[in-house]
């Protein structure tokens, strides 16, 4: 815990200095018609609107987490199939690449038409699609980049394909899987909020931001952005925590993120 704190210290100092510059800069320069509120104004708005923002964060958080779980599972299963069966590789890999080539956010209005404008399902679908690809591509890389010596060894033990997958490929894929999980958790937050701009629940972060920005209440919009960022950071830290538990053999390289 102490090490985490020491590791985070430079980031905390840097962040604090940035906030002070932001606050003082706007306070002293008083730019006219500038729509960037000061940090203290944002915090004030956050406190004033806490119940509404909290509810919205919980609702968006539900989309993020469910979409993340489904998308990550889909990516992992897909990459296991592709790395294990040639036929799956020849069919599912191009399909994954094709899916990724779609500008996924552009599907949001279409999904709303499918699932109903106020249904959160369309937002979850966007998150699943966004999250799936980085998980798939990284995990597949990890599953297939096993050294020739390691494979020769396993064959010399007369290991079956499944034993090689279980004992070599999956542990070998862990580091890259966690890289993708961190990317995916940030993407999930972005995807959920942007998808909410187009529809879904009215009491969610995306709608809160859109509605407040539309009536020029930018400070409120910013307060909701802060809530979204906090969610992203928490998910990132959680991924890092799980990574440490699951891959204890790895050196502590990313101390800053705890």
């Amino acid at each position: 815990m102490r090490r985490v704190f020491r590791g985070a210290a430079p980031a905390l100092v840097f962040g604090s200095v940035g906030l002070i510059v932001w606050e003082l800069g706007l306070l002293l320069a008083k730019p006219d018609g500038f729509v960037l509120p000061r940090p203290t104004e944002i915090v004030g708005s956050f406190v004033d609107n806490f119940t509404v923002i909290w509810t919205a964060t919980v609702n968006t958080g539900y989309i993020v987490i469910t979409g993340l779980i489904v998308g990550v599972l889909l990516g992992v299963v897909w990459s296991l199939l592709v790395s294990r069966f040639r036929l799956a590789d020849e069919t599912l890999t191009p399909l994954a690449i094709a899916l990724n080539a779609i500008p996924i956010i552009a599907l949001a209005p279409i999904f709303n038409a499918w699932y109903g404008l106020l249904s959160p399902t369309s937002n979850q679908a966007i998150v699943v699609l966004l999250v799936f690809f980085p998980v798939f591509i990284n995990t597949t890389k990890g599953l297939t980049s096993v050294g020739a010596t390691e494979l020769d060894l396993m064959h010399s033990y007369a290991a079956s394909k499944w034993e090689i997958t279980k004992m070599v490929r999956i542990p070998n894929a862990m580091p890259l899987f966690f890289v993708s999980l961190k990317i995916a958790s940030s993407l999930a937050v972005i995807g959920a909020i942007v998808a909410e701009y187009f529809g879904g629940r009215q009491d969610a972060l995306g709608q809160f931001i859109v509605q407040n920005a539309a009536s020029s209440r930018y400070t409120e919009a910013w307060a909701a952005v802060i809530a979204g960022s906090a969610m992203g950071i928490i998910l990132y830290l959680l991924s890092g925590g799980v990574e440490r538990i699951v891959t204890p053999w790895r050196p502590d390289v990313d101390v800053v993120v705890g």
Partner: protein, 265 residues
């Protein structure tokens, strides 16, 4: 002891073996051509030759990790494939091939786990092997915490853990510094003396081949062939061996055999 191989049982028998990679394609390589070689049980044999002469390919053929284009490979009286499925041999390579996510003990236990050993038996055997390679105090370390030489010792312990009758090693000390290397050579001979395994050892170091083996097989490239088969009757090796005249004579003999190949190319 050293010297004549006749009379004892044959561990590996290679008859008229050839190996062509990418046959019929523009990048066709005749890696091995008409190889005949018998290795008797309990002997220590080295394969030596310049890079690309097919040493690794020959070793992989014995291990049934690849198959000959022509001829046959027999291990312990059965096909190489059968011997592989029976787990008749352990292997060690230039890179240790230790799994970074497993501790030293867990790495040694891996083949035992595949063979369905009970947990307690695995643990006992891993401890025993760690004693053998003098790494008992590193049992719970991860590979990245070990030096290159220590990693190779773990790899050898792992190769021997399931009591294979044969040990196949492909330049296992190639990446080590000279001092560690000599130390490891002594240890391998010690293990060989204590376990009585048949050892096939690939190297491109002449002193290493002469110091370790009872028999040095000299190979030449394009296509890979056996060009000399040199007995090394130096008896039990010790510290003095490396400085003895008979050692130098054998080193010279192997060097000449290798040089002759170059001239003949």
């Amino acid at each position: 002891m050293t010297g004549s191989d006749t009379g004892s049982k044959v561990a590996v028998s290679i008859e008229s073996v050839s190996k062509v990679f990418n046959r019929g394609k523009p990048n066709e390589v005749r890696a091995l051509d008409d190889i005949n070689l018998d290795i008797s049980e309990g002997s220590f044999v080295s394969l030596i030759g310049p890079s690309g002469c097919g040493k690794s390919t020959l070793l992989r053929l014995m291990a049934a990790l690849t198959h000959p284009t022509g001829g046959s490979v027999t291990v312990n009286g059965k096909s190489a494939d059968k011997a592989r499925l029976d787990r008749d041999y352990g292997m060690a390579f230039q890179t240790s091939g230790l799994f970074e996510w497993r501790t030293v003990t867990q790495n040694i236990e891996l083949p035992l786990q595949l063979m369905g050993w009970e947990k307690a038996d695995r643990k006992a055997r891993a401890d025993e092997m760690l004693e053998l390679v003098k790494l008992a105090e590193f049992a719970t370390h991860y590979p990245r915490e070990l030096s290159g030489g220590m990693q190779q010792r773990v790899a050898i312990a792992r190769a021997l853990a399931f009591r294979p009758s044969l040990l196949l090693m492909d330049e296992p000390f190639g990446a080590l510094d000279e001092m560690t290397r000599e130390h490891m050579q002594t240890e391998v001979l010690d293990i060989w003396a204590r376990t009585g395994k048949t050892v096939v050892f690939v190297t491109h170091s002449i002193p290493e081949a002469v110091f370790l083996s009872q028999r040095v097989i000299v190979m030449s490239p394009r296509p890979g062939r056996i060009t000399a088969d040199i007995e090394v009757p130096l008896g039990v090796r010790g510290f003095e061996t490396r400085e003895s005249n008979r050692f130098f004579e054998k080193v010279t003999e192997v060097r000449e055999a290798l040089r002759f190949d170059k001239g003949g190319r």
